[in-house]
């Protein structure tokens, strides 16, 4: 405990500088805005702002980018409640009861409980992150290359398993990410691979152009196809503070959602699932399950807490192991690497200021979000009214400038454009780009671990199954890969019996 207090003090020294407070504020403001606006996700926004952070201190960059992430989780609920369109994938469930409450004239308490629930969950989530991350990284220091290789394979398998569409397609996306990450110079021998004599490819494909293309440009292309204006809740929003009955109904759901969200947030790709599980759990244990879907406040409190807590949980594997649990964390990992930091179990030990500064800034950010967001709901409603025809030229412009400014290279912008078209086709063919991005960032680390393990063992592949942690990770990954086949066979047998 004294260790934690000492570290918190160090974190305060880092987070409470004028510059870092400002970056935290900018981050949560942008995060809330992109959360409110449907059509721009945190992945696109973070990749657009990544080049802006190059000149900053690493800790300031992470504070701002993290602020965008958890800020977007707050903002996403506003659109779900007022427009019945989820601002973020994690706020899909909030639409069910949130919009119903708004239709019944209770938009204020719905927005209020979403904000308070998010605040409580965010704060408790950070506390658990603070307690868990350090011991986990201490354990992870004992990991060797085989354990890291197997752990990354497990992470990519879980992301593919939890993908919304076909698991085979998600696995293909993950493998394609690894394939793309190998373009450029080989890190061990210095040989050039698949560069076709092009100078621009010597360092490989840039992270920012690929992400901006797949998320930013492809998103705009998809949205331009859709026409029609949003139907926004027009009545004046009154009484944002929930009353005693609202609190009584919600407080249990908030704490259950917090715990559930945090631990699911640690698992790769499970952040979105946490909101659905929280909603189902609340409905299952409720004395009045028939009220769910008709505007019950627990239906907002549980999932909203779960998604904010999951965003704190997602930082655990990033800081403790250097393994991202979703595409946003993969971008933060990329940002750490761009700033010359080596993500992994030694990150917290070698850069305590970065970790504790980020943790403290997340506390501060959560308070800022609560204080700012409730009075600013009117402003966010106005932001929602900005027509997409005005927004999309600016998104295209930011993507272009963001890609160009990294190396002052038109090749990077053309890469972004090409990946925009590829991302659009992926959407049409129902391929999810998130596993690709994760694998693209993890690819070089994965290859390094694999080759180091094989060098260690003299080319013997049994090194991966002779070590217990590595064996367990690969076993779980294999089980997850085989599970859909088993489930399909079982359902066929049952349908025949019926």
């Amino acid at each position: 405990m004294p260790g934690i207090l000492e570290n918190l003090f160090l974190g305060c020294q880092v987070a409470f500088t004028v510059a870092n407070l400002l970056y935290c504020f900018i981050g949560i403001l942008i995060g809330t805005m992109i959360g409110v606006l449907p059509g721009i996700g945190p992945v696109g926004a973070i990749s657009m702002l990544l080049p802006v952070t190059f000149g900053m201190e690493p800790v300031s960059a992470i504070i701002m980018l993290a602020g965008i992430y958890y800020g977007s989780q707050y903002g996403g609920s506003t659109t779900s409640i007022l427009v019945n369109i989820p601002g973020e994938a994690t706020t899909v469930v909030t639409c069910i009861d949130g919009y119903e409450m708004a239709r019944q004239g209770r938009a204020g308490p719905a927005l209020g409980i979403a904000a308070f629930g998010s605040f409580i969950a965010g704060t408790v989530g950070i506390m658990i992150l603070m307690i868990l991350a350090k011991p986990l990284s201490d354990v992870a220091i004992k990991f060797g290359p085989p354990e890291f290789f197997s752990l990354m394979i497990l992470a990519l398998t879980i992301v593919s398993y939890l993908a919304r569409g076909s698991m085979i397609k998600a696995i293909i996306m993950a493998i394609l990410g690894i394939v793309l990450s190998q373009i450029g110079m080989d890190i061990i021998t210095g040989k050039f691979r698949f560069t076709f004599g092009m100078m621009d490819l010597l360092d490989g494909l840039g992270l920012v152009p690929v992400v901006m293309g797949l998320f930013g440009i492809a998103e705009v292309m998809a949205n331009l196809e859709e026409s029609g204006d949003l139907e926004i809740f027009k009545e004046e929003i009154k009484g944002i503070l929930p009353d005693v009955k609202d609190w009584k109904d919600s407080i249990g759901a908030i704490f259950r959602g917090t715990l559930l969200g945090f631990f699911l947030g640690i698992l790769p790709g499970a952040g979105i699932v946490s909101t659905f599980i929280s909603y189902t759990l609340e409905k299952r244990i409720s004395k009045h399950p028939e009220r769910f879907g008709k505007g019950t406040i627990e239906g907002i409190a549980g999932p909203e807490s779960a998604n904010n807590s999951a965003s704190s949980g997602a930082f655990v594997p990033l800081f403790a192991l250097g393994i991202p649990s979703n595409a946003i964390m993969a971008l933060l990992l990329g940002s750490l690497m761009i700033h010359g930091l080596q993500p992994g179990p030694l990150l917290i030990k070698e850069n305590p200021g970065l970790f504790w500064g980020t943790v403290v800034s997340m506390y501060v950010g959560n308070v800022m979000l609560l204080v700012l967001n409730l009075p600013l709901i009117g402003l966010w409603v106005r932001v929602l009214k900005i027509p997409y025809r005005i927004l999309f030229p600016f998104i295209l412009f930011f993507c272009t400038l963001g890609s160009y400014s990294i190396n002052n290279s038109v090749f990077d912008v053309l890469t972004m454009f090409a990946f925009g078209i590829i991302g659009y086709i992926f959407r049409k063919f129902q391929y999810e780009p998130a596993p690709l991005i994760m694998a693209f960032i993890l690819g070089p680390i994965l290859e390094n671990s694999l080759r180091q393990s094989l060098i260690m063992s003299g080319g013997n592949f049994s090194v991966f199954i002779m070590r217990p942690i590595s064996f367990t990770c690969l076993g779980i990954a294999l089980f997850l890969l085989a599970l859909p086949i088993f489930l399909r066979k079982r359902s066929r047998i049952f349908s025949r019996l019926e």
Partner: protein, 159 residues
Amino acid sequence: MERSLRKSDRISSLIWLIVGISFCAGSIPLKLWDFQKPGPGFMPFLSGALLGLFGLILFFSSTAAESAKGEKARGKGILIKKSKRRLVLSFSILFGYILLFEPLGFFFSTLLFFFFLFKLTDPKRWLTPFFSSGLAVIVSYLIFSVWLKVSLPSGILKF
């Protein structure tokens, strides 16, 4: 819709197979194995082979699913024709912007980019897109070049 998705799955699976095989072929000259340790071509070969393998799995699973259903319904096609014109024009403008970005310089290429995009969304007016694009380019120049010190191309017009 489902039928056309399965057709697109088969097309994409063949693409993955080709990409996978190409990657395997390209990685062989890089040296796959170098005396008890993997060479620079090992990982590309492995990932290329896995990509091809999963491409095949996707191909057979989509074929099997369709023959199991035996459906004869005609799909509408994956690429539904909605507001395609706006999409194609917007992206042609973006492509033109990328190509002119360095030769024309930031200021004029961005002015033209915003002007054409605003004009596309508001075709009847001339003055509004003109002034809006002018304002957008000045504000973005001040933010990126003056404040954030992003190095922007000045182009042949030296501005």
